[in-house]
């Protein structure tokens, strides 16, 4: 993901490690070092140069939320960068049945590769299988299909890791404070990802016996719900040391409720990586001190992977001849110290 400096640095590290490992393996096992060498050098690797024309079908979510909107934008702008890529986009939908119909339309259009961010991964598994059977490789974006047969490659964020990193960051901030209290403003409780974020958070807090989670309320990922639920939480907890809020969109409302209540006595960590949250972290004038990324740039990477799939190429910087079967993004913690690095990926 060249758009994220850190990620590309990480990619570089990873790539270097992979290449070293590959080299080591080669050195140990190969009887034909020269041929291997040649393969590594000339492996067909996707790059920015125009190649075989690829039509990518994109079935995304209804962009009624900052992060989901950023997903669609990332996919579109990335596809525009490649002269050899044609993007067929369906109308985003949160309705499972409607989205199945849209994917089927794309299959009938015989696109070369499909990128699908399902409204519900489990519910769209069948249509993923259908596409794969029709010979169209599927890049499954973020919400994962129930069967690995339904996709060629999965790329997505790490919900558990978000919770884990948020918990560890808060833990480090409060590790010297006896009987520290934290509260959690979760997202939509009927989504599995919310449970995963909470699980990661709880697991991280186990590393810090001095910290206790005293309250958890779920909001709806909206500003309005964030404001309402946070106002209640503030009322219920007269004193606490840290707050983890799962989502920066609802965080706008949560920050509003905190300002309305005139509270400044704790630190807040957000989630997702909205630009408004990063701006607030940079300005350092509110309780918001960090946010845990769930980068929408994964949609751009999904287009990269789909293009590589369509052109039968591997991924640059890796010794593999094929693109990987799955890629989990890292949920970096953005703080005042590194916010400048991540600001370009912040979404509105």
């Amino acid at each position: 993901m060249p758009e994220t400096p850190s990620t590309s640095r990480r990619g570089l590290l990873f790539g270097t490690a992979a290449i070293s490992a590959g080299a080591l393996l080669t050195a140990c096992t190969s009887n034909e070092p020269k041929k291997q060498e040649a393969a590594t050098d000339n492996a067909p690797v996707a790059d920015d140069k125009p190649g075989k024309a690829v039509t990518i079908g994109f079935a995304g979510p209804q962009a009624d939320h900052g992060w989901l909107n950023a997903i669609n934008q990332n996919a579109k702008s990335r596809a525009e960068r490649y002269s050899d890529v044609t993007l067929e986009i369906t109308e985003g939908s949160n309705d499972t049945a409607a989205q199945i119909g849209q994917v089927q339309t794309l299959i009938n259009k015989k696109v070369d590769v499909l990128v699908i961010l399902p409204a519900d991964g489990k519910a769209l598994t069948q249509v993923g299988l259908q596409a794969m059977k029709a010979g169209i490789p599927v890049v499954n974006l973020d919400r994962i299909f129930a069967s690995p047969q339904a996709y060629r490659c999965w790329i997505g964020g790490d919900n558990y890791g978000m919770g884990l990193n948020a918990g560890n960051y808060i833990g480090e901030q409060l590790k010297d404070k006896p009987n520290a209290k934290v509260i959690e403003l979760a997202g939509l409780d009927n989504l599995e990802l919310t449970k995963q974020r909470t699980q990661g958070f709880d697991d991280a807090l186990k590393n810090y016996p001095n910290i206790k989670k005293v309250a958890r309320q779920a909001a709806d990922f909206t500003v309005e719900s964030g404001q309402a639920k946070m106002a209640q939480l503030l009322q219920a907890q007269s004193q606490f040391d840290a707050l983890w809020n799962h989502d920066d969109d609802q965080g706008v409302g949560a920050l509003r409720a905190i300002a309305q209540a005139g509270r400044k006595d704790f630190l807040m960590v957000g989630g997702a990586g909205a630009k408004s949250a990063m701006d607030a972290i940079k300005a350092d004038d509110s309780v918001l001190k960090a946010t845990v990324l769930y980068p929408p740039t994964m949609a751009a990477s999904a287009i990269d992977l789909a293009r590589a799939l369509g052109q039968g190429k591997g991924v640059s910087g890796m010794a593999e001849l094929e693109i990987p079967a799955s890629l989990t993004l890292y949920s970096a913690v953005v703080t005042k110290d590194n916010v400048d690095q991540y600001l370009p990926t912040g979404f509105n």
């Binding site: 909107n69 709806d220 009322q235």
Partner: protein, 344 residues
């Protein structure tokens, strides 16, 4: 209105000239019945307050919490007042949540924010009234069923809100608007939004119970044909009612902007159901002909108090929803029992 028009009036013993007074007289039995309903709702509210006070004595009865409960009731409360009028007239407005969303995102566009406080307030109200006008015209003069017309408005207003925002959250940067929601702006300890809610409630009550407009609303809801024969312009009345509901949505949208500091296309989600539920629990007949503003406001307060108690006790959202459903059923059952007792 000088014509002795409503069905209720026909039973009135007094001459038509003293219409205001005799209407009060003829409606007294109805008023008493409503009071019984309201008393039972007050009872439910009292039980809830007791539960809150017992489970979380320090937090629940704190001034700041009472301010919070009232503030959170305010936005949906204003919508419910408008909804009560519409339901009393035998109609329904399914588009209130979508209108709140559209008004709030339109009022928070960058262009509107340049005009500051008045720009935002004015846009929100105008958009609300505009949507109400479309609803009203479709229903009154297009002869569409209210359910269908407002369902169409629900879909298109939400769509337009999504298009305007492009799914993004529009953050408000106008300080004078934001300041209305913070503690410094409280007047005698009362949040400004609560004062708006109170004002809308009082005006709503006066209009429904003490004006010709209110009597016409009840008459149209009771029997539209009889009302028409009695000389009421039923169509115009309906138009005004949906305009009124739209106006309330516009005001509520502004209040939401103050509260949440932003406009988002997901604003006002499920307000239609909350407002209808509050009005029905309050004793407004879904079939029309009877409406009570006080009951609706009590209904809203019951809902908000439940939510508050749940949050204070840190209940899980699944448990919250189950309990909320159970309490709605309980509240209505208690009401019916009380009513039957009162009638017997």
């Amino acid at each position: 209105m000088t014509q002795p028009a409503t069905p209720a009036q026909q039973d009135a013993p007094m001459p038509a000239a003293k219409s205001a007074q005799d209407k009060g007289g003829s409606r007294r039995p109805l008023g008493l019945r409503l009071d019984v309903r309201n008393l039972s709702l007050l009872g439910v509210l009292a039980v809830l307050v007791a539960v809150g006070g017992i489970t979380k004595p320090d937090e629940f009865l704190a001034t700041s919490n009472l301010q919070l409960v009232l503030t959170q009731a305010s936005v949906i409360g204003v919508v419910t007042v408008g909804m009560t009028f519409v339901i009393t007239s035998g109609g329904i407005d399914l588009s209130v949540g979508a209108i709140v969303a559209l008004a709030s995102v339109w009022a928070t566009t960058v262009a509107t924010q340049e005009y500051g406080f008045t720009g935002i307030l004015f846009t929100a109200v105008i958009v609300g009234v505009g949507c109400g006008l479309v609803n009203g015209l479709l229903i009154a003069y297009g002869r569409m069923v209210p359910f269908i017309a407002t369902l169409a408005m629900l879909a298109s207003a939400r769509g337009l809100a999504l298009q305007i925002t492009d799914g993004k959250t529009q953050i408000v940067t106008v300080d004078s608007v934001l300041d209305l929601g913070i503690r410094d702006a409280y007047i005698l300890g009362i949040p400004p939004l609560v004062l708006v809610f109170a004002a809308v409630t009082v005006i709503g009550w006066l209009v429904l119970n003490r004006t010709t407009f209110g009597r016409r609303t009840v008459a149209v809801g009771g029997n539209a044909e009889a009302a028409r024969l009695a000389g009421i312009d039923v169509r115009r009345q309906r138009l005004y009612l949906y305009l009124l509901s739209g106006l309330c949505c516009g005001i509520a949208a502004f209040m939401l902007i103050v509260l949440a500091g932003s406009g988002q296309n997901t604003n006002g989600n499920l307000y239609e159901l909350d407002a209808i539920a509050a009005a029905i629990i309050g004793g407004t007949l879904l079939s029309g002909g009877r409406g009570t503003i006080v009951g609706s406001v009590l209904g809203v307060l019951v809902f908000t108090t439940i939510t508050n108690i749940f949050a204070l006790n840190n209940l899980e959202s699944a448990v919250q929803q189950i309990a909320k459903g159970a309490i709605i059923v309980a509240a209505v059952l208690v009401q019916h029992r009380t009513l039957r007792g009162g009638d017997a």
